[in-house]
């Protein structure tokens, strides 16, 4: 397990980026796997930078959601280095797949051997949050039971 602080901050950042609560993220059981994956590929320093930008924004915006979102766009998502990594983090939580970073990123910040498109683990796939987000089940796992498809979907409103 990563240092407690880093882990908690990683979860907080992930929650802001994915729109899922820390509880729901932890509920996938993938926190440590994703923290390790991303650290292995882009380096610990970049992970630190990601979480500290978020921490700074949280401190500065004092609970104002809209301001926090704005800050994330300005300082994280549009950052040449951090933006693509943040977007990859979102996709990781949603489908359990690490996507190879854009060529421009690799050229500028240095390629990593592990940076190719892959599914982190079988569980990372089945625990993907895309499916619960749309009231579905990942194909081949977590079924709803016989005939449940005959009912309208249950989709949590956010």
């Amino acid at each position: 397990m990563a240092s407690t602080d880093l882990r908690a901050e990683f979860l907080a950042l992930s929650a802001a980026l994915t729109g899922f609560s820390v509880f729901r993220l932890e509920g996938t059981g993938q926190t440590d796997a994703y923290l390790t994956t991303i650290g292995d590929i882009v380096g610990e320093a970049t992970v630190d930078a990601l979480v500290s930008v978020h921490r700074g924004l949280v401190d500065a915006t004092g609970g104002d959601e809209a301001e926090l979102q704005r800050g994330l766009r300005r300082e994280l998502l549009s950052d040449a280095k951090l933006g693509p990594v943040a977007r990859n983090l979102v996709k990781l939580w949603y489908v359990g797949t690490w996507y190879e970073l854009p060529a421009a990123w690799r050229d500028t910040f240095g390629p990593s051997l592990r940076d190719r498109t892959f599914v982190v683990s079988p569980e990372a796939y089945t625990e993907g949050l895309l499916w619960p987000a749309v009231g579905a089940n990942p194909a081949g796992a977590k079924p709803f039971g016989y005939g449940m498809w005959a009912k309208p979907p249950r989709i949590d409103t956010v």
Partner: protein, 631 residues
Amino acid sequence: MTEERNDRFEVSPEAASSIAYDVAVVGSGVSGALIAKELSGRGLRVLVIEAGPSHDLTVAEYETSLRRFYGAASKDNNAPYAANANAPMPRSTDTTKLRPGEPNADGYLVQLGPLELDSTYTRVLGGTSRHWEGKALRMLPDDFALRSRFGRAADWPLGYDDLEPYYRRAEFELGVAGEVEEQDFAGLRFAPDYVYPMHGMPRSHLDRVIADDLDGLEVARDGETFALSVRGTPQARNGVPNAAYDGGRGYRPVGAVSLHQAELGERCQGNTNCTPICPVQAKYDARRTLFQALGTGRVDLLTQAVASEVHVDPASGRVTAIDYQAYADPASAEHVTGTVRADVFVLAGNAVENARLMLASGLTGSSGLVGRNLMDHAYLLTWALMPEPVGALRGPLCTSGIEDLRTGAFRRQHAAFRFGIHNDGWGWATGSPYGDLEELVDRRNTFGPALRRALVQQISRQVLMAGMIEVLPDESNRVTVDPRYRDRLGNPRPVVSFGVPPYTLEAAAFARRLSRRLYQRLGAEDHTAYHPAEPGWVSYQGEGYVLRGGNHWAGTHVMGTSPRASVVDADQRSWDHPNLFLAGAGSMASIGTSNTTLTLAALCLRSADTIAKDLETAAAPVTATAGGAGA
């Protein structure tokens, strides 16, 4: 890794070569397994030769396949099954856009075109049924008489009514869930009081929403008017047993295959993954039948053995032996060659592999038709967003379809087709939901709660209607072999030429126009788009379409009434080689608008009766063959 044999029913290559079998069957798919079960049930000694490993007779092994699928970045049809260079299989991901005159030999199939086919099959225990979807449609009475009714193709040497009792038996063996009352279209006839073994799969929410607006829509074609309706699709997955089945005796669904106790394989739970692998074994696959066959104690299974040559006695034409290459390790080309002897031989390797093996053995048939008349369904996919979330990506892949245009006078002019309504969203057409996620995150710059909301709008509203279009037999569509293209064991690979005529394209154009009208009526946003750069792109009367493979390889050893115009007779017996049966969809004289498996199962049950009669065995007593209602 060297694979261990299960000595309860698996034989070593040495043992297999030393035993004189009544029947040797190549292939453990639906075709081979059904024939093995039927014949062993009647006391005959059977050898099943399977090119793939004996994996997946335990739940734990099955789960390995499932986890391979979970962990695969590409979740194509063959993603759950380990690549095996000794018994290679086609993957849809190998299909690329062809340039004129340049074959694509990247995958196992060598594709010559002109149409690129992304159809696949699987060479593992249980064959392609491992990743089939399970639609179990009967062919229509008209489909057996295309020449006499519509002046097209050739009539079958048998009619619907000849095959009907075997359809019933096939529905029992495969465990089909459906409602007879819903199948009252296009002259489809059932035996009086017949019901399917299980009640139909509940219709999806999407089906109902669509039916609300589409039912009753009238379509005029060639002087006839067709009133469309959304109907449940009969399918081979476990549902609610019908108490009225078999004269009120009911039906007991068959569960998971396992060498030790496993209470799995119950009702379909809606895993939405029938293709490529059902995690709970609710969907029928041929391992079930094979397992029952092995249970007779009269079936030997020789796995990791690739049939490589059929030997024929030139004088009598009879098959004397089949050679096979047995390998101990799928990771190595090392193998020994053995020979099996039997009174009767059955090739059940599927339409492509049967033809490939015959041609590799130099057996082109006196008609010259072995490998020719290759058929498959052409799929025209159309996709749209419904006005409201309808809960895409839930339930079996399809629970309903539109069947009303499967026959009519228009078949003189153009092909028939059906629409399958897909519960699994746009995945087949666009790579959704992954592509949607990438679009929203990487290009539309959405994140946080807004991303969740956007995903709901983009994914849960998806509907895909797949038009499955008939392709008639055509001698220039074919499987051949070419010594330049071989697999790792040295066996020639299948070389495929395939194209579709205007007869099919006219139906594609019509289906596309109709789909536009359907979406207009539903108030759905039509997102269908076809690009010239895609494999399967065809242009017809100024408009472009993309046709996808239907995975229903058929016709390479068509049946008929004469040795000059067909490869096998109505019993699937080779005209040239009286003790050789070519079993499976390759025998189909045409394929109508039904997925092929139920029909090939019916044909194989019929052939089993013939083979048993041939061998007139006085051996073991006749044990019940578990006939269904009135079978």
